[in-house]
Amino acid sequence: MTMMSATESATEPTRRDFLFIATGAAAAVGVIGALWPLVAQMNPDASTIAAGAPIEVDLSPIAEGQVIKVFWRSKPIFINHRTKKQITDAQDVDVAKLRDPQPDSARIKAGHEQWQVLIAICTHLGCIPLADQGPYDGYFCPCHGSVYDTSGRIRQGPAPLNLALPPYEFVSDTKIRIG
């Protein structure tokens, strides 16, 4: 008699059926538990996570109109000491007409409008845009022609979203912590 014969009529499940299903479920849990480390090992390891700890950047050497680039978690970050004109250009905008509507106030820290901190990765396909370029004197990505304004918002070209903001805060008036 084989164990694989299926009952044709709708009889009660037998003890054997219960044991089969229970054993199968236990085995499945065991197999998933055994295979999980093989999958999890590809996630960032402790040393990579430690290297991604927050960094502090001193803003005092950055002159007005100057843009510097730092790295945090292997991502390039623009820190732009905006001029007065760049700030007003960023604020005098009909937000509703933007592709990715966002007021400039949502992209800076209150009381520090002259400091623009952006992740310098074009939201199209990932190139680093050029600073102080393009028709808005903001950023221009040479790969496929995306144009960002002085707030880092997308204005022309194929990129779908504004330049992203990293998590950061002002430790003092002349120092920020990114991350």
Binding site: M1, T2, M3, M4, P37, L38, A40, Q41, M42, N43, D45, A46, S47, T48
Partner: protein, 422 residues
């Protein structure tokens, strides 16, 4: 043996696939309906265990390779990085290192099973030879893998084992230089060992495929050593052998898990946690436990070239076993005298292993020599002679008769029932 039932897929996709690539039918005939002798005991589950361990080693090895760096300046640190930083890296490393030990343990049990029950005899000679080839590939793979962490033992084991080839007259030194890729074990050696260590397991997979194919052509041996004569002598592989194999794989994994989680460094050598230093040789160089018997044979012979030849011969002699054993009777169950020599052989192998871990001095050397003599005498003198002079016990008429005592077909009424039904 041909399959008794042909694969009739009920699923429409399987019917479509079966016409184009009959892999469903292959699996069905090889592992579902495949006629399996009904008297197989648990020693027959080690083939399945070995397949499982091969898969474990390959999977853990590939994920370790994602983090390991095969450069003399980074190798040791990359292994520590795996142990400390990589998610579950400690588990993967211990599983791979202890997995190698478990792999060899299962392999030796599997070989001893073949020797006891005469599984190497006609018509399974090629099956046996393929198995010896797999064992040699395993030995090479394990050796190269042990070099990769670039600890003191890794480096000096590499130096000693590659130097073995210098015993070959005329071309020996050139071969050693060729193996090293330099004037000593170094960066080129480490790199090529990494490449080959990644390659050979897949070669093993190929030879295992041939091994299983050769097995299925001849059919499995069984503890009584007589061929199945009718359907009553066999059962379908699934569910009987499948469940029996799965059960012992799980028990084997308990032993494996015991090492990995509680004593992961027990089988290893602490000196391998010291980064390789080419100016200091450790006081006692020993290989891992699974190479110790061969190491003992090598050191037992006082002559360099003859020692190397003895080491090689201890493996090569296995190829000739089907022809060295002249007995017509397969299984040691029916060979009472052979059985005693066999168990003495097992004790000798374990003894050689223990002696290999000892320093080559005094009585250790004496006993290593005695045991080496027995090792070769077993194959070259005892087996050929015994086959001709031994009085064997009478064989059962069939497997069914040996198992059931009655030779009744499956499903026939049993002899008078006992107290209660199960």
């Amino acid at each position: 043996m041909s399959a008794h039932a042909t694969y009739q897929p009920r699923n429409a996709f399987m019917r479509w696939l079966e016409r184009r690539l009959p892999i469903g039918g292959l699996v069905y005939s090889s592992f579902v309906v495949y006629p399996t002798p009904r008297n197989l005991n648990y020693w027959w589950t080690f083939g399945g265990i070995l397949t499982f361990m091969l898969a474990v080693q390959i999977l853990t090895g590939i994920v370790l390779a994602m983090h390991y760096m095969p450069h003399v300046d980074y190798a040791f640190d990359s292994v520590e990085h795996i142990m400390r930083d990589v998610n579950y890296g400690w588990l993967l490393r211990y599983a791979h290192a202890n997995g190698a030990s478990m792999f060899f343990l299962a392999a030796y049990i599997h070989v001893f099973r073949g020797m006891y029950y005469g599984s190497y005899k006609e018509p399974r000679e090629v099956l046996w030879i393929l198995g010896v080839i797999i064992l040699i590939l395993m030995i090479m793979t394990g050796f190269m893998g042990y070099v990769l962490p670039w600890g003191q033992m890794s480096f000096w084991a590499a130096t000693v084992i590659t130097n073995l080839f210098s015993a070959i007259p005329v071309v020996g030194e050139a071969i050693v230089t060729w193996l090293w890729g330099g004037y000593a074990v170094g960066e080129p050696t480490l790199n090529r060992f990494y490449a080959l260590h990644y390659l050979l397991p897949f070669v093993i997979v190929g030879v295992v495929g041939l091994h299983i194919w050769a097995l299925h052509v001849a059919g499995q041996n069984n503890p009584d050593g007589i061929e199945p004569q009718s359907e009553h002598d066999t059962v379908a592989f699934t569910p009987y052998a499948t469940i029996k194999d799965s059960f012992l794989i799980i028990v084997f994994c308990l032993l494996f898990a015991w090492f990995v989680f509680y004593i992961p460094n027990f089988l290893g050598h602490p000196d391998n946690y010291i980064p390789a230093n080419r100016s200091v040789t450790p006081a006692h160089i020993v290989p891992e436990w699974y190479y110790l018997p061969f190491y003992a044979i090598l050191r037992a012979i006082p002559n360099k070239l003859l020692g190397v030849i003895a080491l090689a011969a201890s493996l090569v002699v296995l190829f000739f076993l089907p022809w060295l054993d002249t007995s017509r009777v397969r299984s040691a169950r029916y060979r009472p005298v052979y059985r005693q020599f066999f168990w003495a052989f097992v004790v000798v192998c374990i003894g050689l292993g223990w002696l290999g871990s000892k320093p080559p001095e005094g009585n250790y050397v004496l006993f290593a020599r005695i045991f080496t003599v027995y090792y070769f005498a077993y194959f070259l003198i005892i087996l050929p002679v015994l086959g001709r002079v031994e009085r064997t016990k009478p064989l059962p008429t069939s497997i069914a008769q040996a198992v059931l005592g009655t030779g009744l077909p499956i499903g026939a009424p049993a002899p008078p029932p006992s107290a209660h039904k199960a």
